[in-house]
């Protein structure tokens, strides 16, 4: 019973996340950029923009320059989460890929980096008055959810191991539309997976949209080439034409 409910939930969550984010990305990609609003100094070539975005996404360059504490906690959290997520590939592939094997021991440790980062970010949200002022309940809940996922996962890694062989069999089955395997009825595991489902569902309707959003911000992704390249959007092309030359009555 529980296995079936979770199977439905995972199929639904995957669909909502992929479709929702896909629709958002489509919207971002097809919405015009009527003017070159790149924040300068900016690269003058596409290559330069690629490196600018690379530094933003890999090093969080702007955040590093603007706030060291948020950078530190944000960096710990995001990189911790990435390695932990990559480690999870071992539960979704029959044969564990060699590089997943290599990062697995680090992945187990990186859970603590993730948790430390989240706690740091949450502490700032509570104790730093400026950030407290701009926080909505959803901002706190998002941290709680991520901490819940990281915490329950870490518990299973270090304290009360779940029956991971069966978990793996269950997910390998789900991926092949084979629902014959049962999920261990382990409360920590069910909590962990339940929270992951929630996170996937809210992905396209929450601030998690910063993930695709960062790649579509014209202030960073445009090339500084406005003197050479015009960018007239479709709607601007339909504006009423303006006169060439100076109307007679206005001439001195």
């Amino acid at each position: 019973m529980i296995s079936t409910v979770y199977a439905v939930l995972f199929y639904l969550a995957t669909f909502l996340m992929v479709a929702g984010v896909g629709m958002k990305v489509f919207k971002y990609a097809t919405t015009p950029v009527p003017l070159n609003i790149v924040v300068s100094p900016a690269p003058r070539t596409k290559r330069g923009v690629f490196f600018r975005m690379f530094r933003e996404v890999i090093f969080f360059e702007s955040l590093f320059k603007s706030n060291k504490w948020i950078w530190l906690f944000g960096y710990l959290f995001h990189w911790g989460m990435l390695i932990v997520l990559l480690r999870h590939f071992r539960y979704f592939t029959l044969e564990t890929w060699w590089w997943v094997e290599i990062i697995s021991p680090i992945g187990k440790l990186m859970a603590f980096a993730m948790i430390a980062g989240l706690l740091g970010l949450w502490a700032r949200r509570i104790f730093q008055e400026r950030i407290r002022y701009i926080s909505a309940p959803s901002d706190h809940l998002m941290l709680a959810l991520l901490l819940g996922i990281a915490g329950s996962g870490t518990l299973m890694s270090y304290v009360t191991h779940t029956d991971i062989i069966n978990v793996k069999a269950y997910f390998l089955g789900l991926m092949r539309f084979d629902l014959s395997h049962t999920l261990p009825a382990d409360p920590i595991l069910l909590a962990h997976l339940g929270m992951v489902v929630i996170l996937m569902i809210i992905f396209p309707i929450s601030k998690l949209l910063h993930v695709p959003g960062v790649f579509f911000a014209p202030s960073r992704t445009l090339v500084d080439n406005a003197r050479d390249k015009r960018r007239v959007s479709k709607w601007a092309r339909n504006l009423p034409p303006l006169p060439e030359g100076i109307p007679a009555k206005e001439e001195k």
Partner: protein
């Protein structure tokens, strides 16, 4: 914080980046005058608040999100990390939390969420979404007119979210429902009538320029021209109309005239496009910005010039560098061997490097200089062939004509520069209190270099910066003329061929019995 009085302004105010305690509502009562119906109507907006303002405003949010990717992405992507919260000069100056960039964005984002997102429609309390009410509209008017669209926060944001885009959109929504700002809308209306923000007609302009020519001749003994409406000139100079009447702007104009004279390039000002400023940008109106820009194209065609050069004006250079080609191009009728448009500083630096100007740096020795990067030039444009030229070109010119130059604190210059406190359509007397407070970070950084290096003058290349500083510097213990045009420094140092120099003037007069 009460506005500082000149007499009790401390000599050294400490850290220009000092973060104040937040004080809710600290600048809630600072409101700029609303436009009269005729101002709004001249721009194609309703004269006063329309009956169905709420529906129209909500629909406008949706329309802008469809027309402008930046607006859509910025509304969605913010994670409330707080990195921008201490970056706005108006927040640093007032302590009002709604002047923190993210909080300023949220004034509009909260309404967007309520009507356009799943979470905001069904769980408004959870995500801080709220209905659009008259109070919200008033709050928009107040706080979106306490943003100078300087983009210092956009540099700080990990996603590049640019509050200026949100602020411009908000002002356009306000205009669309009939709530315009007097300062901006009156000025745009004037420009559409006369060609400049001052409402100065061609006759008055000609008389002014002739007076300036006389001044130049008196100073140098040479007939340096400031040509107006000369067909067939090589260069059309587009310069802010403040250069025709305000100090220290005029001295900059005299500087351009000397450089053109020395270079031998023929040039002209146009009475039809006698304005570089484009307040259409401040109100976020693509249509108005396009119309104002178009005058430059018309004038260039009409006069048959080969090149367009912009004078010292910050936001005008953003429009010129980043938007003009899109709004009024293609400029295939101009000489493609030069950048279109070109900045006067690019031109002057080329002349200096080519050795075409005779310069006596010692004529600026009384000026211990620093340089204020104007926000729109720093973060919204570029100069020269290299990335960061908008910082290096002006400095290269200053250093070529002055012996004494010192930088202010690193976090207050270049891409981290502060707005002067009067940009973005806020340079109006009814916002004087805000302007004084907003200038505080810059003034504090200036006080540091005054203390450390004896800096007594600050140069800028923006008409708004110059006017703002001339007005607020006295509140911080400086003379009003401590702000200078970069081309004023050039004008001081350049010696034209055949010019009578000071040394000749100062030669002891022979006593004749």
């Amino acid at each position: 914080m009460a506005p500082l009085d000149k007499n009790d302004a401390p000599k050294y105010m400490g850290d220009p980046l000092k973060i104040p305690k937040i004080e809710c509502g600290a600048s809630l009562d600072t409101n700029t005058y609303k436009a009269y119906p005729e101002h709004n109507e001249a721009l194609g907006f309703p004269g006063e608040l329309i009956d169905d303002w709420k529906e129209v405003a909500i629909a406008k949010i949706g329309e802008l999100a469809k027309k402008n990717r930046a607006f859509q992405v910025y509304l969605d992507a913010c994670v409330k990390c707080g990195a921008c919260t201490d970056k706005c000069h108006y927040f640093l100056g007032t302590g009002d939390p709604k002047n923190m960039p993210v909080a300023r964005q949220d004034l509009l984002r909260s309404v967007y969420r309520r009507y356009y997102t799943f979470a905001g429609k069904y769980f408004p309390w959870l995500v801080g979404a709220r209905d659009l009410t008259k109070e919200v509209l008033d709050e928009w008017y107040t706080y979106y007119h306490q943003c100078s669209q300087c983009r210092r926060c956009a540099v700080a944001c990990p996603y590049g979210i640019d509050t200026a885009e949100i602020s411009m959109a908000a002002r356009e929504i306000l205009d669309t429902v009939g709530v315009g700002q007097k300062y901006c809308n009156e000025i745009i209306a004037k420009l559409k009538k006369t060609g400049n923000n001052l409402g100065m007609n061609p006759k008055a302009l000609r008389a002014t320029l002739e007076d300036l020519e006389e001044d130049l001749e008196e100073e140098t003994g040479i007939a340096v021209k400031i040509p107006l409406d000369v067909k067939g000139a090589d260069v059309l100079l587009i310069t802010p109309s403040a250069d025709f009447f305000a100090e220290p702007h005029i001295d900059g104009l005299l500087g351009y005239a000397k450089v053109f004279h020395a270079s031998g390039v023929s040039w002209t000002i146009s009475s039809y496009a006698s304005e570089a400023a484009n307040f259409g940008m401040f109100i976020g109106s693509y249509e108005n910005m396009r119309e104002v820009s178009w005058r430059i194209r018309q004038a260039a065609k009409d006069l048959g010039v080969k090149r367009i050069i912009f004078g010292e004006c910050g936001h005008a250079w953003r429009v010129g560098y980043s938007f003009l080609n899109t709004l009024a191009g293609p400029f295939d009728f101009l000489d493609q061997n030069y950048p279109i448009p070109q900045h006067i500083l690019e031109f002057t630096l080329d002349e200096i490097e080519a050795g075409k100007l005779k310069i006596d740096k010692s004529r600026n020795d009384a000026n211990i200089m620093t340089y204020h990067d104007s926000c729109n030039v720093a973060r919204g444009s570029a100069m020269g062939p290299k990335e960061g030229g908008q910082f290096d070109v002006p400095r290269a010119v200053i250093k070529a004509v002055c012996n004494n130059f010192h930088e202010m604190e690193r976090d207050t210059i270049r891409e981290n520069t502060f707005c002067c406190g009067g940009g973005g359509g806020l340079l109006t007397d009814d916002l004087m209190d805000l302007r004084i407070k907003g200038a505080k970070p810059r003034m504090t950084a200036l006080q540091q270099v005054t203390e450390d290096h004896g800096v007594n003058k600050m140069a800028a290349i923006c008409a708004i910066c110059k006017t703002q500083f001339a007005k607020v510097m006295p509140k911080y213990g400086y003379e009003f003329d401590s702000i200078m045009s970069v081309h004023q420094l050039v004008a001081n140092a350049v010696i034209l061929d055949g010019q009578e120099t000071d040394e000749a003037d100062e030669a002891p007069a022979e006593e004749t019995p």
